[in-house]
């Protein structure tokens, strides 16, 4: 018997789930796909006294309201790959989600679970940050929206407070023509990445009108590469030429060195992945126009 003992609750409404979470505070935890929580419980790294199973809640929809796509917390990774709204507005997200784990993991793991777990190189936190996303969080006191750039605070650390749970992520729909790409490096395909990069380019008449660039692997949480974004704005899709700015951006990083990759290797890798994602996004933009 691997995990420590706990009490199991399966609420069928959000209100009930939130009142249970409020009641248990730090002793309670939601369980969604279980793909990160149960390994931790089996290793006894997590020992919740109460598990609140949220799989019965109606948080599985992806829909658009005005200029925002709202993705429910219980949307399984795999569902992102088949959804027409996501395909149309967030191609980099589709490419990123394809890199998560393996088919069985993608069928069962959820968006909310990945965002709350907040592994430093998990794809979905990076992708939410890349798309200027907001995380919608609920508790028995009501709802609040937290910008993705503020939500992910460090390795396995988020802005979630006891009694709160994620109900959705909201991504603003890009205006005009856009292209995106995602690149990562893992030791084996499907493993957690050593580093990753995503790029979204708005474009018009062969020029970049607005660039978003995000990367992981440099710090305990993903980050936006603002200087690279600024350098790309107005650049020619056929030769964006941001090499010097990317090199400068890498100098500002202080990535960790570990058994998987030394700090200099990691820095070089992030530069290479940003460059590859940027080049791919530019090519896609040119092909589409």
């Amino acid at each position: 018997m691997k995990p420590t003992a706990f009490e199991y609750h399966r609420p069928d409404t959000l209100e009930r789930a939130l009142s249970l979470l409020a009641q248990f505070g730090d002793d309670g935890r939601p369980i969604a796909g279980g793909q990160s929580l149960v390994p931790m419980m089996n290793l006894r790294l997590a020992r919740p006294l109460h598990l609140v199973d949220i799989n019965g809640l109606a948080l599985c929809d992806i829909d658009q309201q005005d200029n925002v796509v709202r993705i429910g917390a219980l949307v399984r990774h795999e569902t992102h790959l088949r959804d027409p709204l996501i395909a149309r507005h967030f191609p980099a997200l589709v490419e990123g989600v394809r890199a998560i784990g393996h088919p069985t993991i993608r069928r069962n793991g959820t968006l909310g679970g990945s965002l709350a777990h907040c592994d430093p190189t998990a794809e979905l936190p990076l992708l939410c940050m890349l798309h200027d996303g907001a995380i919608v969080v609920a508790s028995s006191n009501g709802e609040r929206r937290i910008a993705a750039t503020d939500f992910f605070e460090g390795a396995y650390m988020t802005a979630l407070e006891a009694g709160e749970m994620i109900v959705a992520a909201e991504l603003p729909v890009p205006g005009g023509a856009h292209a995106g790409a995602f690149e990562e490096m893992a030791e084996r395909k499907g493993d957690f990445a050593i580093a990753a990069a995503g790029v979204v380019l708005g474009h018009e008449n062969g020029r970049i009108t607005g660039a978003k660039v995000a990367c992981s692997g440099a710090a305990q949480a993903p980050m936006r590469a603002r200087p690279v974004e600024q350098a790309l704005n107005g650049a020619d899709l056929a030769s964006p030429g941001a090499a010097a700015v990317i090199a400068g951006f890498l100098e500002t990083m202080d990535p960790p060195g570990d058994h998987a990759a030394s700090a200099p290797y990691r820095r070089a890798l992030i530069g290479e992945l940003i460059d590859r994602a940027m080049t791919k996004a530019c090519r896609r933009a040119l092909e589409a126009s």
């Binding site: 691997k2 199991y8 390994p39 089996n42 393996h102 088919p103 069985t104």
Partner: protein
């Protein structure tokens, strides 16, 4: 203890479980289904894959209480006592197994893939087959024989469904 009802391989049964009992352990110990193998208990090896409501799921990352009222299939439901499902036969002829520890997990993971490809009437390329089995680890036979077995199972069932 909580009383739950599991429909395992088409038979419904009520069992008493502690919430912390993993589905893998309950299937092995309370249902006597020793074909559910436990490898890593962290989701990394795929050995314990079963179907919950028709979808592959790692039974070491699932609490049995979460499956109350659900239909579960294990390797014991596949191919009869002689293991004659097309994919099992192909594993045998293509040298897809040696010690057999990982085999139930591979079969349960790959069955829906073989069915999907047969439904789409196409032979996947090597990369697609390897992606489909990427969540399962084999530590003795190696993967070439398993890839060949998947290809053979799909070829056989395509041929089978072509016959008038």
């Amino acid at each position: 203890m909580i009383t739950i009802t599991l429909e395992v391989n088409d038979v419904s049964r009520r069992v008493q479980v502690e919430p912390r009992r993993l589905l893998a352990d309950v299937l092995r110990e309370q249902f006597g289904l020793s074909g559910v193998h436990i490898g890593c208990a962290q989701g990394a090896c795929g050995c314990c894959t079963v179907h919950v409501e028709g979808t592959p799921r790692l039974s070491c990352l699932t609490f049995a209480v979460q499956c109350d009222g659900k239909a579960i299939k294990t390797i014991e439901s596949v191919g009869g006592s002689k293991a004659e499902h097309m994919l099992q036969t192909a594993f045998r002829t293509e040298h897809g197994l040696q010690c057999g520890y990982c085999t139930p997990g591979f079969i349960m993971t790959l069955m829906p893939f073989v069915e999907q490809m047969t439904g789409e009437r196409r032979m996947p390329d090597e990369a697609e087959i390897r992606e489909a089995m990427s969540g399962n680890i084999c530590r003795c036979t190696g993967y070439h024989g398993i890839v060949a077995a998947v290809r053979k199972a799909i070829a056989d069932s395509l041929e089978d469904t072509e016959r008038p």
